[in-house]
Symmetry: C2
Subunit: 412 residues, 2 copies
């Protein structure tokens, strides 16, 4: 918004800029918009009236934060349509229907295997979306857009997955255009961790924070980087790939061909692998008993045992947390973020995991870099990928250029 | 500039925006400015005439890149005044007088010791600047601004050094206001590596590159980070402190209190330390002969021997390069830059050092992240700190807000 003030305002672009103020800062009064833009009262009124006529924003008598005199306030019309959020993970598929503020109206969840063919998963996505639409009596015509988080590298401009290491069949699979053809609305596909960072910025600890990092710890490990309030994708779109940063000296082989990658040392499968190995060697251990009962051991099992005092499980969890903290200490020295948010399936393990991460970050970063650093577990971990996918598509639909165009078309 | 186009233009702010186009993209014609701004020909002419009248820009008959028809082209008036660039290092002090395009007119250099009191160094700075002014018959009144690079953390907004580890006496020393009082012009102080990154962006391999990192390897190691064409300082202003990123498992004690920090493992003093230790144990070695001759061994001596085939020196240089490459591989995975530029005293050592860095980066980063990555030794290594200090102060003096104010004052 700062630039808008700097450069003055003109025509449809001013209408679009006013829309963005209402979207990001609403509920807000006309007078406050005058103050923020430096435009005249009549110019603001003219644009606001048009935005109301276009049903993009609404104006109602309301109190701010429930206190004070009731005033006429403007806010985003959340109910002008619906968006779909899709969060595909190595082991699960989540889908939500959201309003235009990325608030989840209804959602569904299914376990899947990442090794399934793309066509199979697309079929499943379609089936779930259709069920959600029927259940909420929403028609395809009411869908404004959709966003999809994908567990691997994606070229955002085209929405094409690029050589995803854990799902080779998806290389350049045109999931975006397939979904666009089915639902007749724009679809945006990005790496899931990028989506999560944007979700956390919209509804979690990333609100009003300029510089933060979202870390997803699950089957893999990745980071979404927010710089000055914008998602940073990097030159090749692969910024944030911390899963393959090395723990120097560790000799564990990673499928990528290198040794000691953070992911292979500390993500979900590493926790499982260590727990299973211990169970096999110590038939009387608690871990062995779980393996006997369930046929396998999940990272959450190990976390539960750790919380109940099992020393071996604690050691496994702490080793994983410390490896992640070792890498995040380096990230902190380089990037000096305000907040680090930890999410993903493994973040559910509990406080021992988080405190091991924190321990290493504080030990190995410069005091100045951690002076005001907050390290938090995402409080919206279960939905952050869905919210992020929805808000990404909303931000694209409501980009400055698009809204300028909408206002211009309205003027004709 | 993109935002300027988006939001339209008005009043003095438009004049300032046009100035910035001329400054960054000149030589440029009036017609091209019309094309880039969307403003009418007469509005552009009105603003351009005012900028010429203010002597901020000049217009002359010229060819673009020396080819084609001669046309009337606008460019920054480089000779409207002078700026001072100061580059303070652990071992040296460089000072330059530059024109308003940060081109060096004259410069001077002196060896100093970082342990000197700030007052002593300030005295030296004053002495050198005064000599340069006299030598070039420039009066204090012609100085527009000055920039100073400082080898430690600086709070940019105040220009105060913050707990510099290698120069404790400088903590909160008001070098900025002292210089401002002496030379009666605005002075800007920042960490030297930040200045170097901006210098490389202005005149080196960083030109027209949105995302790159400048690494200084000298007595310490630091990084200046350019994100989307802007210097990134981080939440606490300490982004880029890669000197204290750990080589995991290395037990070398660092003065910061941690073990295995990149700086203590691989910067200039580490190379010296290893060379001296070897010389002491092997009295017939080439390194021992140098020590006998000179009383000490510098990193450049080790580099010279390495280039001449001395295996021990090669081993020392390669170990240093590999440690730096190990950390830069992590940086590459996280940040996915387009270019990495290596500068600082140790970069002068030669190609073996650079190739060891490259080897590790290519070995340990994801192929996608290095597909279009360029790793270069700075070609303007000797002056990059001076150019950076000068251009930082020029950018501040010619900030959008400042130029808007100048144009407004002119209108009165």
């Amino acid at each position: 918004m700062e630039n808008a003030k700097k450069f003055g305002w003109a025509g449809a672009a001013a209408g679009a800029a006013i829309f963005n103020i209402i979207k990001d800062k609403g509920p807000i009064s006309r007078v406050e918009i005058v103050g923020q833009t430096g435009l005249s009262k009549s110019t603001v009124s003219q644009h606001v009236n048009k935005l109301i006529e276009m049903t993009l924003v609404s104006e109602e008598l309301a109190q701010i934060n429930g206190v004070g005199r009731r005033r006429r306030l403007l806010e985003l019309n959340k109910n002008v349509g619906y968006v779909i959020g899709i969060d595909l993970d190595a082991k699960s598929l989540k889908i939500a229907i959201c309003n235009m503020n990325a608030e989840i109206i209804d959602s569904d969840f299914v376990e899947i295997s990442v090794s399934s063919a793309p066509e199979k998963i697309l079929e499943k996505i379609e089936e779930m979306i259709d069920a959600l639409l029927v259940r909420n009596t929403i028609s395809i015509e009411e869908l404004v857009s959709a966003g999809m988080g994908f567990p691997g590298p994606v070229e955002f401009s085209t929405g094409l997955p690029i050589s995803p290491p854990i799902m080779p069949g998806w290389h350049q699979y045109p999931i975006r255009s397939k979904l666009e053809n089915i639902y007749n609305c724009p679809v945006y596909v990005d790496n899931d961790v990028n989506m999560m960072a944007l979700g956390e910025m919209h509804s979690g600890f990333g609100q009003d924070v300029d510089n933060f990092i979202f870390i997803k710890v699950g089957t893999g490990i990745g980071a979404g980087i927010i710089f000055d309030g914008q998602l940073y994708r990097g030159s090749q779109g692969c910024a944030g790939d911390i899963g393959h940063i090395a723990i120097d000296g560790d000799e564990t082989l990673c499928p990528c061909g290198n040794k000691g990658c953070l992911e292979v040392v500390s993500a979900g499968p590493a926790i499982e692998r260590k727990a299973l190995a211990f169970a096999d060697e110590n038939k009387n251990s608690l871990l062995a008993r779980i393996k006997e009962e369930k046929g396998t051991i999940t990272p959450l099992d190990v976390g539960l045992l750790a919380n109940n005092g099992d020393l071996v499980s604690q050691k496994i969890i702490r080793a994983s947390g410390k490896a992640i903290g070792t890498v995040l200490a380096k990230v902190t020295n380089l990037y000096n973020p305000r907040v680090i948010v930890i999410g993903g399936e493994i973040a559910r393990i509990g406080d021992m995991f988080l405190s091991s991460i924190k321990e290493k970050i504080y030990q190995r970063s410069l005091p100045l870099a951690t002076r005001e650093l907050k390290i938090r577990k995402s409080m919206i971990n279960e939905e952050v990928g869905l919210i992020g996918a929805a808000i990404t598509s909303i931000n694209e639909v409501y980009s400055h250029d698009n809204v300028t165009r909408m206002v211009m078309n309205q003027e004709k």
